[in-house]
């Protein structure tokens, strides 16, 4: 095979695998930021909290990190409900969610980061399952299980979530609350309850993504900062309230990053990926799958 073609194919495949991780990390934000209009800047920090929890529990019990991530998701769902309840009580209810709400989530982010440093120290933490050191060779294409397995979990979770959002009454209500919360009241549905549930789900998704991240790379308390720009960009690029748009944007972001890194060098990756975001927003301001206002 032509070496350049081989590089391109490998760049695309590794980009799709990386995009799977980005989709996992950004999907929770697509719910909180995109659907609920809550600028949860602490989302990546919650993801890292989930990752640390996976490392601690997985190491203590000798369990697979992804299994621990799935098992702990309900706890993070409850945590999300708690966070939203505080946010709603002190900010949203009073109409002070814009700046003060943002400051609230900034505060949560710092508390999580400092809390993790105090509890676990600033060192990298890891929990490598045996398959993390295995690479499949499909002809000229390398597929490391370290990237593939988390992507498969992401595909399964996001597929189920999408199905639930489209087919269940509560799922449809979450979609509706993104459009018109007051109209929901007229249908005897409490929008606060729906938002609380959706925010809980978004935090559970963050914790699941944290488990996936542990398989991909070691984590440290400040690892979330790497993802802040990316997950918000992906969320906006996908069309804010659109989960399929978020997934598509994440895959595209991963492919653009990795193909650029292959051929132009890694220092161009973020510039090209974010430049592409700007270009796309200029042409299609509502994002990939967003609806024009």
């Amino acid at each position: 095979m032509d070496p350049d073609l081989q590089l391109l194919l490998n760049g695309v495949v590794s980009g799709l695998l990386l995009g799977g991780l980005y989709a996992f990390a950004a999907s929770g934000l697509a719910m909180s930021f995109g659907m609920l209009d809550i600028v949860n800047i602490a989302h990546p920090a919650l993801m890292i909290a989930g990752a640390f929890s996976v490392v601690v529990v997985g190491t203590a019990l000798g369990l697979d990190p992804l299994l621990v991530a799935v098992l702990q998701a309900p706890l993070f769902y409850v945590l999300g409900i708690g966070i939203y309840s505080v946010y709603h009580h002190f900010f949203e209810r009073r109409g002070e969610e814009a700046l003060q709400g943002l400051a609230f989530f900034f505060g949560i982010m710092f508390i999580i980061e400092v809390g993790l440093v105090m509890a676990f120290g600033p060192e990298q933490r890891f929990l490598d399952p045996p398959y993390a050191f295995v690479t499949l060779r499909l002809g000229e294409i390398d597929v490391p299980l370290r990237m593939l397995v988390p992507m498969l979990l992401a595909a399964a979770v996001l597929g189920l979530l999408l199905l639930w959002l489209r087919s269940s009454f509560t799922g449809l209500a979450i979609g509706a609350v993104a459009q018109d919360a007051e109209a929901l009241r007229l249908m005897a549905i409490d929008p606060v309850r729906i938002k609380r549930l959706a925010f809980g789900l978004s935090v559970a998704l963050a914790a699941l993504a944290g488990g996936a991240l542990v398989v991909v790379q070691p984590v440290e308390p400040t690892s979330g900062q790497i993802f802040i720009g990316r997950v918000f960009a992906i969320c906006i690029m996908g069309g804010m309230a659109s989960l399929p748009g978020c997934i598509a944007a994440a895959l595209l972001f991963g492919v653009v990053e990795n193909v650029t890194a292959t051929f132009a060098g890694p220092s161009w990756s973020p510039a090209v990926a974010f430049g592409w975001l700007l270009l796309m927003l200029a042409v299609r301001p509502q994002g990939l799958f967003g609806k024009a206002a």
Partner: protein, 423 residues
């Protein structure tokens, strides 16, 4: 009944914060009988906290020992420190407070170049003698004659840093003809890469890949694959811990086994990294500052490491202390020895003494140059050998991090290519 208002909670939080800061910043407050107060900012949280916390533990061990000996100049030693959160913007304010409000007697630096640079103007304004830790050519810009840097890189990093790596490369069974260079976008790594470029040119190697990457890079697979496709004989990487993990993982997954791989990667020196990567580190040749080889068994270093290792787990810092801690301890020995010779806290006299004297520390004997760097650079290049698992015990003994350069500290022979046996 008194109900707690939000204002009450705010007062309580403020009181707790002030009390906590005082307790943390002045741990030796109770014993102070006109103590010598040494002030510094240190990364106790944020990206550099791993090494920051290890540094603080080394300082605390030195301070405890100094106080047990009766203090310095007959006065107890007190450490006054604040967390700079690995945020350069906080550093000038901290040093202003240390010198103007806390009125410390001596200031030492935060950890590493990015944090030292913003402290320099404030320290220079007060004409303080300033012993820094692991800066990389900071004083090239400031040219401050009271600056002394505890780092083995010495003056002229461009010509000295990567010399040992390319000296080792010259001993490969097949003489190398090409090199690849990859470095993260930060000052230290870029200077390391500049040195690698210089030596590759000097030795007639063709540079077939020369790129930088941003610190936010998540996946290194495409980058390592691009290097692999250029087929270099020698690969020089300048990276920081999270990136070093990704690069080594990618090299392992792609079965990339060039004759020589490594360079100036920060990460493989640390215990957590060594525990995680195990045999993937085999035959990696990397820059380092200390290895427990017989050629570096300086007086006092084994005792210090024993003390450090008994406290490291409790302090949640690097378990081995093979990287920064001996140098942090030695930094304080420099201050102690200079103060003993001068006999008083006199910033000008201390600086003059540091320029003139040789220091005998747990990391060996050395002098400072006119610019305050080590007069004789001592960049080590070590090779990981015989690594079968992530057990850390072997890193306490000779034979795992074998020194290949410089020649006067060499403790073993080069093995090539990079990669675990049979890779």
């Amino acid at each position: 009944m008194h109900s707690t208002t939000r204002r009450d909670l705010g007062r309580f939080a403020l009181g707790a914060a002030v009390g906590g800061a005082a307790a943390g910043a002045f741990p030796a407050f109770a014993q102070s009988a006109n103590p010598i107060r040494i002030g510094f900012a240190m990364a106790l949280s944020g990206g550099l906290a791993g090494n920051g916390r290890a540094t603080l533990l080394a300082y605390q061990i030195w301070a405890a020992e100094a106080n047990a000996r009766g203090g310095v100049l007959g006065r107890p030693v007190q450490l006054v420190f604040y967390d700079d959160q690995t945020t350069p913007g906080l550093v000038p304010g901290i040093y202003t407070k240390l010198m103007d409000v806390d009125r410390v007697d001596i200031v030492t630096s935060p950890y590493a170049t990015a944090m030292i640079a913003p402290s320099m103007p404030v320290v220079m304004q007060r004409n303080m003698c300033f012993v820094t830790l692991f800066g990389a050519g900071v004083n090239e810009v400031f040219k401050y004659d009271r600056h002394f840097n505890m780092n083995i890189t010495g003056d002229n990093m461009k010509e000295t840093y990567a010399k040992g790596y390319f000296d080792v490369a010259a001993k490969l069974p097949t003489p190398p003809r090409s090199a690849a260079i990859l470095a993260v976008d930060n000052e230290f790594a870029q200077k390391a890469a500049e040195s690698a470029r210089f030596h590759a040119r000097q030795r007639g190697l063709r540079v077939v890949y020369d790129r930088s990457y941003p610190p936010s890079t998540v996946d290194f697979t495409p980058t390592v694959r691009a290097i692999q496709s250029a087929r270099p004989d020698v690969v020089f990487i300048g990276s920081y811990p999270p990136d070093s993990s990704g690069i080594l993982r990618a090299a392992s997954e792609l079965r990339f086994n060039p004759p020589m791989f490594g360079g100036g990667m920060v990460g493989p020196q640390l215990a957590a990294f060594q525990a995680q990567f195990g045999p993937i580190l085999n035959n990696l040749i990397n820059w380092d500052v200390y290895s427990p080889e017989p050629t570096m068994n300086f007086p006092g270093v084994a005792d210090f490491q024993e003390k450090y290792r008994t406290q490291a787990a409790k302090e949640q810092t690097d378990l081995l202390g093979n990287y920064i801690p001996p140098y942090a301890y030695a930094q304080m020995q420099v201050l102690e020895q200079s103060l003993a010779r001068v006999g008083r806290v006199d910033q000008a006299a201390l600086a003059a003494d540091m320029h003139a004297s040789e220091f005998d520390t747990i990391v060996g004997k050395f002098r400072f140059s006119a610019s305050g760097e080590w007069a004789e650079p001592r960049n080590l290049f070590v090779q990981f050998q015989n690594v079968r698992d992530g057990d850390l015990e072997k890193y306490k003994r000779p034979g795992t991090k074998v020194i290949l350069a410089p020649e006067n500290l060499k403790s073993g022979e080069l093995r090539a290519p990079y990669g675990p046996p049979g890779a």
